[in-house]
């Protein structure tokens, strides 16, 4: 149980009433000249917070869009090298010359999605464990700061006729 502080006789004389009337009087004495609203400082802080949040969201969206574009480019590059690997599988053994780098005919979708990409096909001779040719297909494209990055890297082995596992 909460007890109100007892008023001394002099204070009671000054107030002339019970503690309840004292609380009422104190409430009445609240200053009325303070206007409710926002100060300039509060407004500046609110605008700063809002601006920071908006900038963060915009940056996040930009990063998400960039990541999505990169994933899409990788998908197109992987499809391209996988298709080229199938073409290589059908080529006769004599048509694949080792120790040289070359490129191949690119699809329209690849040229549209990755106009700046470069493609390389490296062929190396391998004798062990079976006679084969190691063919490496690489797709490189410059990133946003101009540095070349590997979007796809696929290695296939074509076995010599009669040496297929």
């Amino acid at each position: 149980m909460v007890r109100l502080p007892r008023l001394t006789r002099s204070r009671r004389r000054r107030s002339g009433n019970s503690p309840a009337s004292l609380r009422l009087r104190l409430r009445v004495k609240q200053p009325q000249d303070a206007r409710s609203g926002l100060t300039l400082f509060e407004l500046v802080v609110a605008l700063f917070v809002l601006t920071t949040a908006m900038v963060a969201i915009v940056q996040l969206l930009a990063v998400a869009a960039s990541q999505r574009r990169t994933i899409d480019q990788r998908r197109v590059a992987m499809t391209e090298v996988a298709n080229q690997a199938e073409r290589i599988a059908l080529l006769p053994w004599s048509k694949l010359s080792p120790d040289e780098s070359s490129t191949w005919d690119l699809s329209a979708e690849f040229r549209k999605t990755l106009p700046q990409a470069t493609t390389t096909m490296e062929i190396r001779e391998e004798a062990e464990p079976v006679k084969s040719r190691r063919i490496r297909l690489i797709v490189r494209s410059p990133n946003t700061v101009g540095q070349p990055i590997d979007l796809a890297d696929l290695t296939v082995w074509k076995f010599a006729p009669g040496d297929e596992p």
Partner: protein, 170 residues
């Protein structure tokens, strides 16, 4: 005599507040609409990419094992075991049916987005034939972002393990 000013907001304050709120609400609504549209596009593209990847893997495995391929409106592969595999397009999916004689022993489907056109092709190349499935958007009046992605899957027929692959994640 002291006059106390009434507590509350002036008309200017109210107008400024309403303007700021309108701008904030407008930006939020636009951002949310963009995010929802982006989510829809990403989901559709991811599903299409996954479906095409699965289809490419299946088609290449089947084509490598096949003895021959016949392509018209659909694609029929004949396996050495006597079974045949048929790939056909029934919008909006590519259906793969494995038949043992007249009986369908396995059925598989690969979903594609709406407004997609699928073309089966075959080309004679080097020592054999190259099977090709072209997936491209139908010519419609839809905006470019609504159209499905184009893709081309190629598979060598009858190479029977003449090629080993190793894919490295760059």
């Amino acid at each position: 005599m002291r006059h106390s000013r009434p507590a509350g907001k002036s008309l200017i304050e109210m107008l400024v507040m309403i303007s700021i709120l309108s701008i904030v609400l407008g930006l939020s609504a636009t951002s949310l609409a963009t995010l929802f549209r982006l989510r829809h596009t990403i989901t559709r593209d991811t599903e299409q990419a996954r479906s095409i990847e699965r289809l490419a893997m299946r088609l290449r495995t089947d084509a490598h094992e096949a003895d021959s391929a016949a392509v018209a409106e659909d694609c029929n592969l004949t396996l050495p075991s006597g079974r045949s595999i048929r790939y056909s397009y029934t919008a909006p999916r590519i259906v793969r049916e494995v038949r043992g004689g007249e009986k369908i022993v396995h059925h598989d489907s690969f979903s594609l987005p709406r407004h997609t056109k699928v073309i089966f092709q075959s080309e004679q190349l080097g020592m054999g034939s190259l099977l090709r499935i072209i997936i491209e958007p139908e010519t419609t009046k839809l905006p470019p972002r609504e159209l499905p992605r184009a893709a081309r899957i190629e598979a060598a027929v009858g190479i029977h393990g003449a090629l080993a692959t190793s894919r490295r994640q760059p």
